[in-house]
Structure formats: C-alpha cells, structure tokens
C-alpha cells in the first residue's frame, strides 16, 4: 500500500475514525491494530519478523528491569549510600548483567537483519575469495531471502530502545502492546524516521484527544509531502532511471544533469515521504521527530549529514560513534600512537570511529560494495575537511572573505551540493563500482550538447522539465522561508482566506501537474528499499 494512493488515504481515514471513537485509554490499541494490519497487507506472512523483533525487545527489556530490581535487593540503598566501594560494586554488578542481556538482544535483532539483508553479500564475497585462491569451489548461499518491509528502520529503533535502557536513559515499558506499537507504528514503518523511545512514546501512548489543530497540521504536512513526491520526485524519476541505465549512450552533460536531478529527486522523495509520515502521525496527535533541516543549505559535508536523515545520523553518532571513539581500547591505542606521533595519536580514536561509522552507514543503505565505498568517501571527506579547516581559514583571510559573507556562504553551499551529488553516483550505479567510475569519467571527460528531443527520449519532456524546474524553484523559496520559522507556522500567520487559497492552489497543482492516474503506477519511495 503506497503512501500516495487512494487505498492508503482510506486506510488512514478509517484509523483516524476508530481512534477518536474509542475511549482514550484504549486508543493506543487502535494504532497497534492498524499498524499490524498495515504491515500484514504489505508483507503478509513476513509480519512474523517484526513480531519477533518486538517480542525479543520486550523480553530483553523485562529481563533488564528484573536485574535492576535484583540489584536493589543484593545491594540495599542504606549500605551503598554509606559505603562508596559497595556503591561501585553494585554499579559494576548491574552494568555487567545489563550488558549481557543487551548483547544477546542485539545479536538476535541484528542477526536477523544480517541474515536477511547481508547473507547473499557475504556468500558472494566468500565465493569470490575462494575462486581467487582455491579454484572455483562454490558455497551455496541461503537463496533469495525476502527482505521484510522497513526492517532496517524498525531494527534500529528497537535496538536503540534496548541500548537506551542499558545506559539508563529511559525506563522500560511494561505494557507489551505499547512496546509493540513503538516498534510497528505504521506511518514510520516504510522509511522512518528512526524515532527514540523518549521522544515518540509520550504522544504515541497517551490516547490523544481530538484537536482540530492536529488534524489541520497533519493535513498540511501530508499535502506538502504529496506535492513534493508527485510533482517533483516522480516526474524526475523516469529520466534519472533511464539516463543512468543508458549511461554508455549519453554524453557527460546528460549524466551531470542526471546526478543533479537525482539529488533533488531523492530529497523531494524522501523528505516528501517524511512529511507524509509526520502528517499522518499528527492526525492521531502523535509527534514524530523531524528528519530534515534544509540539508541543501549546508556549508560542509559534516553539516549536511546533521541536516539530512537526521535520525539515522544521530543513531550512528550516539550508539556507534561515541561508544567506539571514547572506548578504553581506542583511547589507549591513541596514547600508544602518540608516543610515535602526537599528530596521529590525537586523531586515532576520532578518525577510526568515523571510518567505521561511515562504512556501516554505507552498508545500512545496501549490501553492496558501492554503498560501502560511498559511505567511506563521506567519512574520508569529513576527516580531510576537518584537517583542512586551518587552510580554509588562511585562504579566506587571504581572499578577504568573511565566514558569514553572502559570497562565502553561497560558495560553500554550492560546493557541498556538488560534492554530495557526485557521491550519489555510487547510489545510482546499480551495476556496481565500475559503473560509477565510468559515469564519473564520462561527466569529467565527455561533455557535449543537450537536445530537447534526446531529453524527451530519456523520459523528460519539455513540459516535464519546466514543471520540475518550477517545482524545484518553489521548493527552494519554501526552504528559504523556513530559515527562521517552519512553513506551517508561516501559513498559520496568514489570514484564513489566504490559507484556503494556498491549499486549493496546492491541491490544484497536484491534480494538474502530479504524476498519477489510471495506468500509472507511482514510483516506490526510494528509501523503502533500504
């Protein structure tokens, strides 16, 4: 069931109706039932995976709670308060127990994800290794395993919950149905965001009362998301797919246009989908975390990743980057390296953790080497940029550019956009790294002219081009307007007739310029495949 379909609209309408008809204290159950129904309609029997993930997470959390209670019996508060060593002993004892449970839980949930998503990749690489060193003996893989919808998203969300429990950042949810709802909540199952328990749970479990403001805000968000998806993303989709598929037959200028359009398509697609997610959740009064903060206005790659897919970035930062970079082992390694070189010693833990995180971020996007390379390039650019900062500052001083001058900002923003667009070549290159390098070579060395007829052959008619560019320009203006206030707040600042005109115009634009209708099957959301 696509987010931009009549059936989804009906499904959401039914869920909203039931939600507000049921007494407040049972409303979370309506969300759970509809979430499971949504998942079953999308995946059928493969619902078993998300049910198991919820169950494992619940059991682990309860076992952790039990240990927390046990420590209070074994080490009574009056003893630990008086004796510092006893307090330390209790802390260590609990940490050890909780860690054991957390590791088993993570092995189970990430184990499932690994087998389903990465086993073919692992077997293919083992076979390649065997072929190179032992002839052509082949290991048989596990066959074509079906990847359940949203597994990368719900696995990370469930794992984050357990890790937060281990760090005692949250209290365990004792109601298994509520925890299951946290893992399966349907608006965010397709493409995230990856919510934190402390952020999502208050409004998810509350049983929110009907408020016109929630419905209004929800519908605005949905309208905005649908417009982005149908007017821009799906319009550019055909061209991007075709020109990348026929990359050997087109010159570098078409390919340059392809990668620039792909960046914009991806943004319109993913952020549009997230708008629909936030809007749908809001219809129930549930507040879902924002996943974007005007990423194309970033002045560096590091800043871009703080503003694009924010919840994935903060997940990797809090649960992988920080624990690795400040781990005793890496800190000690840094000290040893410092004896040889103080420069490298200071950077050992920081850059090792960065590279690990970005290799994993690449793998999260797909079980292929091109994604790993894409991730590593992001990490390497960040490390190199950090080192080059003094040089940039020196160059700026020499050129007389101030950091906050318009020219300097515009230059940094365009540079970051181009870097990110070029890195996306790896994302587009479905044949692998060789294809990515070939596209890059063509862009750099085989520039040529562009004709409208060739663009049309590639799926972008003159009208499509004009509408896409107008849509992108409008998106740019909206992003500019969002510098200080969200677009919703700005809309609410307008008079009612103005708001009606804007809404009617938006609906008309979607109806006239959107890609939809009989015989047209909307493109899936790109992040759904991850």
């Amino acid at each position: 069931m696509s987010f931009v379909s009549f059936s989804f609209a009906l499904f959401v309408a039914a869920a909203v109706l039931f939600y507000y008809l049921i007494p407040v204290r049972y409303r979370y159950l309506v969300l759970l039932i509809f979430s499971l129904l949504f998942y079953y309609l999308a995946c059928g029997k493969y619902i078993i995976y998300i049910l198991l993930a919820s169950l494992v997470t619940y059991i682990s959390s309860m076992l952790m709670e039990k240990e927390k209670q046990k420590v209070q019996v074994l080490f009574p508060a009056e003893e630990t308060a008086a004796d510092r060593n006893k307090k330390k002993e209790a802390k260590e004892w609990l940490k050890k127990r909780l860690k054991r449970i957390m590791i088993i839980d993570l092995l189970l949930v990430f184990g499932t994800l690994s087998v389903l998503k990465y086993s073919e990749f692992v077997f293919a690489n083992i076979n390649l290794f065997r072929l190179l060193f032992f002839g052509d003996r082949k290991l048989r893989g596990l066959g074509d395993l079906v990847l359940p919808l949203g597994i990368s998203f719900y696995t990370f969300q469930a794992a984050g919950y357990i890790i937060d429990l281990y760090y005692k950042r949250i209290d365990a949810e004792k109601n298994p149905f509520k925890l299951m709802l946290f893992v399966t909540f349907f608006p965010q199952i397709i493409q995230g965001p990856i919510s934190r328990f402390k952020d999502l749970s208050p409004t998810l479990f509350a049983g929110n009362r009907f408020e016109r403001e929630n419905i209004r805000k929800g519908l605005y968000y949905i309208l905005f998301g649908v417009a982005k998806k149908l007017i821009i993303a799906d319009r550019l989709s055909l061209f991007v797919q075709r020109s990348s598929a026929f990359y050997k037959d087109v010159n570098g200028t078409y390919l340059l246009l392809t990668i620039l359009f792909y960046s914009l398509q991806l943004y319109a697609d993913f952020s549009g989908g997230i708008n629909i997610t936030i809007g749908t959740a809001r219809l129930f009064g549930v507040e879902v975390t924002e996943n974007f903060a005007r990423p194309f206005f970033s002045k560096s790659v590091a800043e871009y990743w703080r503003r694009w897919h924010i919840t994935l970035g903060t997940w990797f930062r809090d649960y992988i980057f920080y624990p690795i970079s400040i781990s005793k082992n890496l800190m000690n390694l840094g000290k040893k390296v410092s004896r040889v070189s103080s420069f490298f010693g200071k950077r050992t833990s920081l850059y090792t953790a960065t590279i690990v995180v970005w290799a994993l971020t690449g793998l999260w996007h797909g079980a292929e080497w091109r994604y790993v390379v894409w991730g590593l390039l992001n990490g390497i650019i960040m490390c190199v940029s950090a080192e080059l900062e003094p040089l940039y500052a020196w160059l700026n001083r020499k050129a007389g550019w101030k950091d906050d001058s318009f020219l300097h900002k515009a230059f940094s923003i365009i540079r970051t956009f181009l870097i990110m667009s070029f890195l996306r070549i790896f994302d587009l290159s479905f044949e692998g790294i060789r294809m990515a390098l070939s596209i890059l070579k063509r862009i750099l060395l085989r520039q040529g002219g562009i004709t409208m007829s060739r663009l049309e052959e590639l799926g972008l008619s003159q009208n499509d081009l004009i509408i896409s560019l107008a849509g992108i320009a409008l998106l740019f203006v909206i992003s500019m307007l969002q510098r200080k206030k969200s677009i919703y707040e700005r809309l609410m600042g307008l008079s009612l007739p103005c708001r009606w005109v804007i809404c009617t115009l938006s609906v008309a634009l979607i109806l006239v310029f959107g890609y939809y209708g009989l015989g047209y099957s909307g493109a899936d959301f790109i992040y759904m495949q991850f």
Partner: protein, 75 residues
C-alpha cells in the same frame, strides 16, 4: 575550573565560556569536538567518561562539564 576553560579554549577559542550555556544545543560543539574534549578530560583528570555520560545537559556549558568532571572524580 581555569584548567578546564584552557582545555575548552584549545578546542574553540572564540567562545565565551563564562556565559555560553548551549555549546551542544547551539551546535558550537559537534561530535568531533566532543570526542576531542573527552580524550583530553580523560587524560587530564584521570577519569572515565562513558557513552552514558555523553548527554547534551552534561556538555552544554563549562559549568556543566566541570560538574561532570567533579562527579566522575568522586566516583
């Protein structure tokens, strides 16, 4: 406290640490800065800072960082 301010100045010299109370919330310190700071605090004060301590409220101001260091030294 003076020692701590010196360490912080080494990371971001332009910040007024006497008044700034949103080092993390205002994105003055990013994750690279935090890891650099943790490395220096660990070495300088012989403390162990764990991922559980890496909360915005512990790093938003020089005062909160100082309090964290004192708490960990006591432990």
């Amino acid at each position: 406290m003076d020692e701590l301010i010196d360490i912080l100045k080494g990371i971001h010299p332009e910040v007024d640490y006497e008044t700034e109370e949103a080092l993390i919330d205002s994105r003055i310190f990013d994750s690279f800065d935090i890891v650099t700071l943790v490395g220096q605090l660990t070495e300088e004060y012989d403390i162990e800072i764990g991922p559980e301590d890496l909360l915005p409220e512990n790093f938003n101001s020089a005062k909160s960082i100082y309090e964290l260091v004192c708490r960990l030294m006591e432990e």
